[in-house]
């Protein structure tokens, strides 16, 4: 691995960025030092990604200046940033990879932009990639097409690529939001190694507990401004206080009632591709059932199969004791089973449509008159009432979905299902990339929904499962390996089941 002897400081001075109608970043100073991990936290929409994009040359204009060792550098294109040794792993890694090319080709993508060598030998490329990857310690197949990789393999690939470039400053934008704990721990190890090699790291995360593990210093953003700076990582409550306008109590709301009605959904021996191998469980009215496990354990597939979004090879599904056939989401919705999918931008939202249209889409029939004509007023009122329920911010239902922050996008997807009468609400990683404030709101929402129906929550955050669920299923390799109730739920035990340490 490359090694950089000299210490360096990347400094952003008075950085501002304005979008039509929004001041996304307002005179923010930040300093990243070699060999240090600087954590950047803030609520959704606080401006973290905007800051990252400035530092990586994504925007061709911004106010303020950036210096490296007191030398001003101008970052107008990604190329400028690369030139100055600044690299980033984006929140959505897919934007950084070419899905139709192989791992090896993606690994040396930057080389294709430069002048070294015109002729590329596929075999040499593969050999080199295999060597480089094994040096770094990432077991990614060099000749696989990137579109076939899992999310965390893609992330590793991007990090590997940065390392190959002798990166000086590495920015990690919510790298763990879609990683399981074990994978996250691997990442922390990696961060430590990088630190030892004098790489300066800007680490962005919504999972505050990680900050304590990896960070040396912390900057908190709020509404585009710098709200606080801590030279050493303080108590988490302090960070939360700086992040949010109001002081925060417990993240997980207390659930007072633990009484359940009759069984609403029963799944028997569900099998699907080779990712779900015979899953059976049932939920009752009023119950929150969490399914947890590592990435790739098959949580998403289980939920999608129940919802009819992917075809199950085997299995029976009973709703209210009656067996039903679900071959498509349409069937599932008719039976009162709703899904909030994992990747909200890809699977949840129609980005260039208004929040209103995104909210009313599944039950639009209810607001239609003769010939399917939409009664606009009814639709608006409906959308507004649902947006109110989830406390959408900003409360502007005509704004396009893509211009909401991540947390609020999630709220839009959740709110759409509150318009029907869910019997079972399936939530797949509902708080991924969501700030603490919004997280809490979503938890409250879940508890509210659970009063009238059953909720199944797939999550790789074990804390979340323990904090909110009445019962927890642990999945591993497409099978349920453990079942715990809230009384005997404990993170360590779950972890060891999930990792296969305990059988």
């Amino acid at each position: 691995m490359p090694c950089l002897p000299n210490m360096a400081v990347l400094r952003g001075n008075n950085l501002s960025k304005k979008f039509p109608g929004v001041l996304a970043l307002d005179k923010v100073d930040i300093e990243i030092k070699s060999g240090k991990v600087h954590a950047l936290v803030g609520a959704n929409g606080a401006g973290k990604s905007t800051l990252v994009k400035i530092l990586t040359g994504y925007y061709d204009s911004y106010d303020g200046s950036v210096t490296i060792d007191n030398q001003e550098v101008i970052l107008r294109t990604p190329f400028d940033a690369l030139h100055n040794g600044i690299e980033v792993v984006h929140q959505e890694v897919d934007t950084q990879l070419v899905p139709t090319l192989t791992v090896a080709e993606n690994l040396y993508l930057e080389n294709f932009a430069n002048r070294y060598g015109t002729i590329v030998s596929t075999r040499d490329l593969k050999k080199k990639a295999e060597k480089d990857l094994s040096d770094i310690g990432f077991p990614i197949p060099a000749f696989e097409k990137v579109e076939n990789l899992s999310l965390h393999e893609k992330q590793q690939l991007v990090i590997a690529r940065a390392l190959l470039h002798k990166v000086k400053f590495l920015i990690l934008d919510e790298p763990t939001s879609s990683l399981s704990l074990i994978e996250a721990e691997k990442l922390f190890e990696l961060v430590k190694k990088l630190k030892a090699r004098d790489v300066g790291i800007l680490y962005i995360s919504q999972r505050l507990d990680e900050i304590q593990i990896v960070a040396d210093e912390v900057t908190v953003l709020r509404n585009g401004r710098k709200a606080a700076y801590f030279e050493h990582v303080p108590q988490l409550s302090k960070i939360v206080e700086a992040m949010l306008d109001s002081p925060q109590e417990d993240l997980f709301p207390k659930k007072d009632l633990r009484q359940f009605g009759q069984e609403i959904l029963r799944v028997e021996d569900l099998k699907c591709l080779n990712r779900v191998n015979g899953v059976s469980f049932s939920v009752r009215k009023g119950e929150i059932l969490a399914i947890t496990g590592l990435t790739g354990a098959g949580k998403t597939e289980t939920l999608k199969a129940i919802f009819g979004a992917i075809r199950a090879n085997n299995g029976k599904i009973f709703v209210n004791g009656k067996q039903i056939k679900i071959t498509s989401p349409v069937d599932a919705i008719k039976s009162g089973i709703y899904l909030v999918p994992e990747e909200r931008r890809k699977e949840g939202l129609i980005l260039d449509k208004s929040a209103r249209e995104n909210i009313t889409i599944p039950f639009l029939k209810n607001f239609c008159g003769f010939l399917g004509k939409i009664l606009k007023k009814n639709e608006c009122n409906h959308a507004k009432s649902l947006a109110e329920k989830v406390r959408l911010v900003p409360f502007d239902i005509e704004r396009q979905a893509q211009y909401f922050s991540g947390g609020n996008q999630q709220k839009i997807v959740v709110s759409r299902w509150l318009g029907g009468k869910p019997k079972v609400l399936l939530l797949d990683e509902p708080t991924q990339g969501v700030d603490v404030g919004a997280k809490k709101e979503i938890y409250q929402l879940i508890i509210q929904v659970a009063k009238e129906s059953a909720v199944i929550l797939a999550t790789s955050e074990i804390n979340e499962a323990v904090g909110i669920a009445d019962r927890i299923l642990v999945m591993r390799n497409g099978k349920i390996v453990a079942e715990l109730t809230y009384e005997n739920a404990d993170s360590k035990a779950i972890m060891s089941y999930a990792a296969g340490v305990k059988q």
Partner: protein, 336 residues
């Protein structure tokens, strides 16, 4: 203030350009500005508009149907062949052609949805098929009264003909008065298609669903929209409107010429994208498509009246298209 101006130009730039064109032609030719000529122009673009709205549907669901021109031509040959060669009543010929159109639409969706052939490629295949069928039906001949029956080994002359009722579709007028020639039937048909599809796409949940499928198919699917049905519907509507255009064309030319529909493909795609791009709506939409077709129609009509040499009309058409687009996109870019 400046923003307002930009916005206005963006939204109404093409309409303004159209008005300027109309004023210019009205001043420089004798016959341009008259009610009759107005309807002449609309009649001239009626077939294109109908076909182009079909393409618009395929683009709304984020697909593309390049078979429309060939399907239009197929409808021309098929409907007239039914009447002339096989001497079938005109109304059955119409129904037959429309059913065949639906069949082609279903074939397209089968190729695209079941076999997952990329839409451009699948509809290209259908294009060749429909073109081939046209020629096969008549063995390369055109269809006209008194033709020799290509399927008769004796090569006898056919007795069939295209009746008046069928010709009314393309050549008739309604609402005649003493001083007024009446409104051409194709214009009425076109306006019906425009109004119905506009209502469908803009004001109903079906339209919402079409746009949702085009906007993000996976999200639409997970929100409970039967996306396959909508995509199938889009391709069927596209083929059906192409067939309708073909019927109007057949009636307008009162005979069946092979490959008569071919020129409509490019113009229909151009109208769709023109309307998509220029009205400031940033999505395929019925009025934009209509406007695109009318724009071309006004220009061709006016240029002919000005006695512009035929060989530079195409060039002018291209120039106007490119500059209209260029200006409108340049404005948009600045406003960003």
């Amino acid at each position: 203030m400046k923003d307002r101006m930009t916005n206005f130009l963006l939204k109404y730039g093409v309409i303004t350009a159209l008005v300027v064109l109309i004023v210019f032609f009205s001043l420089s030719t004798r016959a341009f500005f008259s009610l009759d000529n107005f309807f002449d122009i609309l009649r001239a673009v009626s077939i294109l508009t109908i076909v182009a709205i079909g393409v618009t549907f395929s683009v709304v669901v984020n697909g593309m149907d390049v078979s429309v021109g060939a399907v239009t031509g197929f409808a021309v040959i098929f409907s007239t062949a039914l009447m002339v060669i096989w001497q079938i009543p005109w109304y059955i010929a119409i129904v037959g052609a429309l059913l065949a159109g639906i069949g082609i639409g279903l074939l397209n969706s089968f190729l695209i949805l079941k076999l997952r052939i990329p839409d451009l490629l699948a509809t290209l295949g259908t294009l060749y098929l429909a073109q081939g069928l046209q020629m096969w039906i008549t063995k390369g001949d055109a269809v006209y009264r008194g033709m020799t029956n290509p399927w008769d080994p004796m090569r006898q002359v056919t007795k069939g003909f295209i009746p008046k009722e069928f010709l009314t579709i393309g050549q008739g007028f309604v609402f005649k008065t003493e001083n007024f020639r009446g409104i051409p039937v194709p214009v009425i048909i076109m306006l019906c298609v425009v109004l119905i599809t506009w209502f469908l796409l803009e004001f109903t949940r079906f339209g919402r669903a079409f746009y949702a499928v085009g906007g993000n198919i996976e999200a639409a699917r997970l929100a409970g929209i039967p996306v396959k049905k909508y995509r199938t519907a889009a391709y069927v509507i596209s083929a059906l409107l192409a067939t309708l255009g073909g019927l109007v064309l057949a009636s307008r030319i009162g005979s069946g010429a092979v490959k008569a529909g071919d020129p409509y493909l490019l113009d229909a795609v151009a109208s769709t994208y023109f309307g998509f791009a220029v009205l400031g709506v940033r999505r395929p939409n019925v009025w934009g498509t209509f406007l695109g077709a009318v724009f071309v129609g006004v220009m061709l009509n006016g240029l002919t009246m000005l006695n512009t040499p035929w060989y530079i009309q195409d060039f002018i058409k291209g120039l106007v298209l490119v500059s209209a687009l260029g200006i409108s996109f340049a404005i948009r870019k600045e406003s960003r």
